[in-house]
């Protein structure tokens, strides 16, 4: 009882003297207390729960400079129906998203969080959710908008990623990073081995879904993660995910066989499987000083439905026919921290155009040769826990796979220099 009654005493205005007296009673009863001299027996300090009842506030400022060999307007993943936030961004100096986070416990049963991203495009809600903290038997329920628990990178905020941008597979299959408006239920097994199962249902408005304008769920996903330690030096996590969406008229802007920029619309069923694995090695498990991280993910998507080619009739007239595709992609990356402030990374991205049957639209779709790929090199300098500057060099061979349109068959050398500064409440990053 002592600590709570002491806090109560000092908050109700009786002051530290009363607090010291209350503390002195149980202490005096103990023989160990006699060991404590006046220097250590003062009133304990209050456990700060934010400031008053205000939520913890943190702010991420980010911005940077990009040197792109090819015009980013011509960037595309030939052979893929893309959507969401994809591409290498703009040339020259740019202000990135400034992220504001407000988080707090709501009551003994709920925790709430709001993440806003401000940019010239306006303010967007990155995440806004309430999450249970008191459900029994290892269950956690999240409601609102949240980053989907799929894969490994998807649930991390982009500023916590090792590399500046999302892997090509995330851009092609998850629109960069997937958010869902809906419900997420997770269950953590009561085992020594970490084992977590999760399920989500949501509106499915975000890519690879699209607005469905109907009741019920537009998308659902399932995921499982497992992991643990091997000795003191190694730790790992592996996962399996499945996402299914039912898009209606999902628009994708790309290039057609004649090189004209057109918009296609897909309706049907989109199913994506994902496998992810991370392995970390740090001498003595002290990753703050030296750490090697190996990670990889693989995504495979199959879509069945109908495709309306050139919905706006830009290159002729719209044509609708059956569409089936099975495509895949992934990345492998390694990051080596050799000093508390310095880290290097190497990433290889690849995509497989796979099999597409677009019926009478086949001839009108952009023809491809080979598959998009990308190699990236990263140098990261973090002088403190709160500041980070990173330089990424990449050879992007996305357009290399194209046969028509601007910059077809050309690779793109990219340099990205980015700063990320974290203000306010100390952030906690997951594994």
């Amino acid at each position: 009882m002592s600590i709570f009654s002491v806090l109560g005493a000092s908050r109700s205005g009786r002051g530290p003297l009363a607090a010291a007296l209350i503390l002195a009673v149980p202490l005096a009863l103990s023989s160990a207390a006699r060991a404590a001299d006046a220097a250590t027996a003062a009133a304990p300090s209050a456990t700060a729960a934010g400031q008053g009842f205000n939520p913890a506030v943190s702010l991420i400022l980010s911005g940077g400079y990009s040197q792109l060999q090819r015009d980013p307007a011509s960037w595309r993943l030939p052979g893929f129906l893309t959507g969401g936030d994809v591409g290498p961004g703009s040339r020259g100096f740019s202000l990135g998203e400034s992220e504001l986070a407000l988080t707090a416990n709501i009551d003994p049963a709920f925790y709430g969080a709001l993440y806003l991203a401000a940019s010239d495009a306006g303010v967007s809600v990155e995440e806004a959710y309430a999450q249970t903290t008191a459900l029994p038997d290892g269950f956690t329920l999240k409601m609102g908008r949240f980053l989907s628990g799929l894969g490994y990178l998807n649930e991390q905020h982009a500023h916590a990623w090792t590399f500046v941008d999302a892997p090509l597979a995330y851009q092609a299959f998850l629109g960069g990073q997937r958010r869902e408006d809906g419900l997420q239920l997770r269950w953590l097994a009561p085992t020594d081995l970490f084992l977590e199962l999760g399920a989500e249902v949501g509106s499915g408005r975000t890519y690879p879904g699209a607005d469905t304008a109907r009741n019920g769920a537009g998308a659902w996903s399932l995921f499982g993660h497992t992991g643990g330690d091997v000795g003191a030096n190694h730790s790992w996590r592996a996962g399996l995910s499945l996402l299914q969406a039912q898009p209606r008229g999902r628009a994708s802007t790309g290039v057609d066989a004649s090189g004209t920029t057109v918009t296609d619309a897909f309706s049907g069923r989109s199913r994506t499987w994902g496998v992810d694995a991370v392995w970390k090695w740090a001498p003595d498990g002290n990753g703050a000083r030296r750490q090697l991280t190996l990670q990889g993910e693989w995504l495979r998507r199959s879509e069945r439905g109908t495709l309306t080619h050139d919905v706006d009739g830009t290159a002729g007239s719209a044509n609708t026919d059956a569409y089936r595709s099975t495509q895949s992609g992934g990345y492998l990356q390694a990051a080596w921290r050799w000093h508390p402030a310095w880290q290097v990374g190497l990433r290889q991205d690849w995509l497989r155009v796979g099999h597409t049957d677009a019926g009478s639209n086949t001839a009108a779709l952009e023809a491809t040769r080979g598959n998009p790929s990308r190699s990236s090199l990263l140098l990261d300098w973090s002088p403190s826990h709160f500041s980070r500057v990173r330089l990424q060099l990449a050879q992007d061979r996305s357009r290399t796979a194209a046969l028509s349109g601007t910059d077809a068959g050309r690779s793109d050398r990219q340099l990205m220099l980015q700063y990320q500064m974290s203000l306010g409440a100390h952030g906690a990053h997951g594994y």
């Binding site: 304990p44 659902w220 497992t226 100390h426 990053h429």
Partner: protein
């Protein structure tokens, strides 16, 4: 309900498996002993002293790891999921990982404010509480310096509070905890008297520290901190700052350089080479050296290493 027909068979099967598992979970989780997750090894050792076979203790970090910068690894989540009690330092030492574990471990018993969340730093007075909160001063902790485990008098105070907490959570064994605590307190008191006698030559000893992690040891033994290798808490020593420390030492000589087992040794070695000062690698917590096998060994070894460094 339009959702249900939309779900394929696989989801329904998985859901059934999940609930079957959840129903069996209490059987597999049946455990007589109190499950304790200690954030740092010193609190694991203290819990073992106070609970003995009554508790099953999992230690989240080792003496070789920087407790400020631990990752919320899958193994830690699995351990916290089943814990009845978390014994942590608090005072924001674990702010980068503990709140995440509490939020993701789906365990109502160990949420902040519950009896299952014990903070050692809240049981004692803290030093170096900043008068202003500004990250320009480095990674400062609002409540004060959290590295309280280097003062055995404060450990005694934490022991009193922890014994009460254990008795509260496991009321059936309350008498056992009281008995074990009385026994520990008596042995600790005797050891403290012995340590204080042997530490007499250390009074007023001027020292250089790596991280501002020793104020409680300094207060207890009367050591005098002349300089710190980290220019600001949590900021790695720069060559310019080390040069400045060297200049300070010419004006204000020190007798030893102190660092914890988990610190990077390069800054201390650089300074030792130029000043001919001994580097004293203190165990800092239980497991930080071969001799620091328990809390008694921790202070025996800490004093032995300090005394050896100042021998004429």
């Amino acid at each position: 309900m339009t959702i249900v027909p939309f779900f394929p068979r696989v989801l329904r099967h998985l859901g059934a498996a999940l609930f079957a598992w959840a129903a069996l979970a209490p059987l597999t989780g049946a455990q007589a002993a109190l499950r304790v997750v200690a954030c740092e090894p010193e609190w694991a050792a203290l819990t073992e002293e106070l609970a003995g076979p009554l508790a099953q203790v999992y230690t989240a970090t080792t003496a070789q790891q920087d407790p400020h910068q631990v990752q919320a690894r899958p193994s830690l989540l699995a351990a916290v999921r089943r814990a009845d009690l978390l014994v942590c330092t608090g005072a924001e030492l674990e702010v980068g990982w503990l709140p995440l574990l509490q939020r993701q471990a789906a365990n109502p018993a160990i949420q902040a404010g519950q009896p299952g969340a014990f903070e050692a730093a809240a049981q004692v007075s803290l030093l170096e509480a900043p008068t202003r909160l500004d990250r320009a001063d480095g990674d400062v902790h609002a409540a004060g310096n959290p590295h309280i485990q280097t003062d055995p008098r404060r450990i005694a105070q934490v022991a009193t509070a922890l014994a009460k907490r254990l008795a509260e959570l496991d009321a059936a064994h309350a008498a056992d905890y009281a008995r074990r605590h009385a026994d520990f307190a008596q042995r600790w008191q005797a050891a403290l008297a012995r340590w204080e006698r042997s530490a007499a030559p250390l009074k007023g000893l001027p020292i250089v520290v790596q991280h501002k992690g020793f104020p409680y040891l300094e207060q207890w033994l009367g050591l005098k901190e002349v300089a710190a290798l980290e220019p600001k808490p949590g900021v790695e020593p720069s060559s310019a700052h080390l040069q400045a420390v060297l200049t300070t030492l010419q004006r204000q000589p020190a007798r030893a350089i102190l660092r914890a087992a988990y610190n990077d040794g390069r800054g201390a070695e650089w300074l030792a080479e130029r000043t001919k000062l001994p580097v004293v690698v203190l165990p800092y917590t239980v497991g930080g050296s071969d001799a620091a096998k328990d809390l008694f060994g921790l202070f025996d070894d800490t004093l032995a290493r300090l005394l050896k460094a100042v021998q004429p």
